[in-house]
């Protein structure tokens, strides 16, 4: 059983086999994501009850909290792929790691942005040096560092490996950073309101939040697979299967004319 399983993993770790599988999966994940998004937003905005303290403005947490969860989860998954890529020199894992980064950065930014919108009616300002917001901001810096290192190195192989190492260093540092920022925050100001995380949250709210999380999750998978397919074509353009796929001779001559 385990043996069979490992064969399947090796099979799909080859870009040649991964590419068509990803292509088949993408529409499913898109469909799932859009359905969940519609359901989640409907539940969040129409079904979930109004918060007795924060009024209607709390409803942004249905985007904010899942985005914040995804931003952290994606960094972990990215670092996981980075470790696999460095340890077993799997090209597919390297490509997955780098394909995850822009989506992770996007969710981090989204979490910050919606956090600011939530903060304005609740705290009275768009930005507070709250522990969560600050560590989310630092997470954004880490993503930006990763993306800029990758785009600064021309050789794709070196770029992937260097940024993979950076992701691993980052993921080891992340708990330390998070913990020291939390600690710094408790020292400098009293406990602040945390976004809508009351222990007895209405079950509708929780359901809507979970649905939105899965919507973001499936969206991430769909987008990352699309991005990784493009990377595969770019990085494997010397192989015969890519040439056959894109109809190389014609493409190549037109490329040559362009350059």
């Amino acid at each position: 059983m385990a043996f069979k399983n490992s064969i399947a993993w090796y099979y799909f770790s080859s870009p040649k086999n991964f590419y068509p599988m990803a292509g088949r999966l993408i529409p499913w994940f898109w469909a799932l994501s859009i359905t969940l998004l519609v359901v989640g937003l409907y539940m969040g905005f129409f079904v979930a009850p109004t918060d007795y303290k924060q009024g209607e403005s709390y409803r942004i947490i249905f985007i904010h909290v899942p985005a914040a969860w995804m931003s952290m989860l994606i960094y972990l998954v990215m670092a996981g792929y980075a470790i696999i890529g460095l340890a077993w020199k799997l090209r597919m894992a390297e490509m997955m790691a780098s394909a995850l980064a822009p989506t992770g950065a996007m969710f981090t930014f989204l979490a910050l942005w919606t956090g600011a919108f939530w903060g304005k009616p609740t705290w009275g300002t768009y930005w507070v040096w709250d522990a969560r917001l600050t560590s989310e901001l630092i997470l954004l810096f880490l993503y930006i560092g990763y993306i800029s290192l990758q785009s600064a190195i021309d050789d794709p192989r070196r770029a992937a490996r260097a940024s993979a190492l950076l992701a691993i260093v980052g993921v080891i540092n992340l708990p330390v950073i998070y913990w020291s920022v939390t600690w710094w925050n408790t020292l400098h100001q009293g406990a602040s309101v945390s976004p809508g995380m009351e222990p007895k949250m209405a079950s509708d709210m929780l359901t809507a939040m979970m649905v939105m999380t899965f919507a973001f999750w499936t969206y991430t998978i769909a987008v990352v697979l699309m991005r990784v397919r493009r990377t595969v074509l770019e990085r494997e353009n010397q192989t015969s299967w890519v040439k056959a796929l894109v109809g190389a001779p014609k493409e190549k001559s037109s490329e040559g004319e362009k350059q």
Partner: protein
């Protein structure tokens, strides 16, 4: 030894040779070292001009200002850590040495810290006085810098190794390294703040020490891996 055509220096001998070499090179280019120091002084001197010359205000922000300036100065000096050796090919020879690369990296970082970190520590009392800190706070700040600047050099070495020979490496390294400096900054300034407001500060120092031990253990491995990726 009887075969004896090539004798291999011991690990410690290689380690020492690396430190002596890097220090000698640094001493031949004193201007580089001084530039970083003057940068440190200038950045700190800008704050009274930009914020307020009021001593009460300055005293409040002094630990943070000095620490941020030290962070920036130590980051600026990272360029010297590997890039010269990378350009003239010495680094490739180092990768081929029989001694473990991470140990040699530790030697290089130590030499780098002696040249770029220790002067910051020694200079900080002067800047502390400029910003109106009293004697005890200044001594404590020196202590935090003494514990913290090696961590900065160690973490920075990973960034320096990753950005070797990369377009715009100098600016890029700041993006990579500064977020990772944050815990050191928090506890470095936190210790001085705690002491000036009459609270316990030993915990901060212990944590800085813990960061130092962890960084000294882990970052040479990461830096060595990064050098192999960059030189390959």
């Amino acid at each position: 030894m009887s075969k004896g055509a090539i004798t291999q220096p011991s690990l410690f001998a290689a380690w020492r040779a690396m430190i002596v070499r890097d220090l000698t090179l640094a001493m031949r280019r004193r201007a580089d070292v001084l530039t970083t120091l003057f940068f440190f002084i200038i950045v700190v001197s800008l704050f009274p001009l930009g914020v307020s010359p009021e001593m009460a205000v300055l005293r409040e922000i002094a630990p943070g200002v000095i620490w941020v300036a030290a962070l920036l100065a130590s980051m600026l000096s990272l360029g010297r850590l590997f890039s010269d050796d990378y350009q003239d090919g010495t680094l490739e020879q180092m990768l081929l040495l029989p001694q473990p690369l991470s140990v040699l990296v530790l030697a290089k970082v130590l030499a780098h810290w002696l040249v770029s970190g220790v002067p910051l520590v020694l200079l900080s009392p002067l800047l502390g006085m400029q910003l109106g800190l009293d004697g005890d706070a200044i001594i404590l700040m020196m202590l935090t810098l003494l514990l913290g600047t090696p961590v900065l050099s160690l973490i920075g070495s990973v960034g320096a190794a990753l950005t070797l020979g990369v377009r715009g490496g100098g600016v890029l390294v700041s993006l990579l390294v500064l977020p990772l400096y944050i815990p050191v900054l928090i506890f470095g300034t936190g210790a001085v703040d705690a002491a000036t407001s009459g609270m316990e500060f030993e915990g901060h120092l212990s944590l800085l020490g813990a960061f130092f031990v962890l960084a000294a253990l882990l970052t040479p491995l990461a830096t060595a891996a990064a050098l192999r990726i960059s030189v390959e």
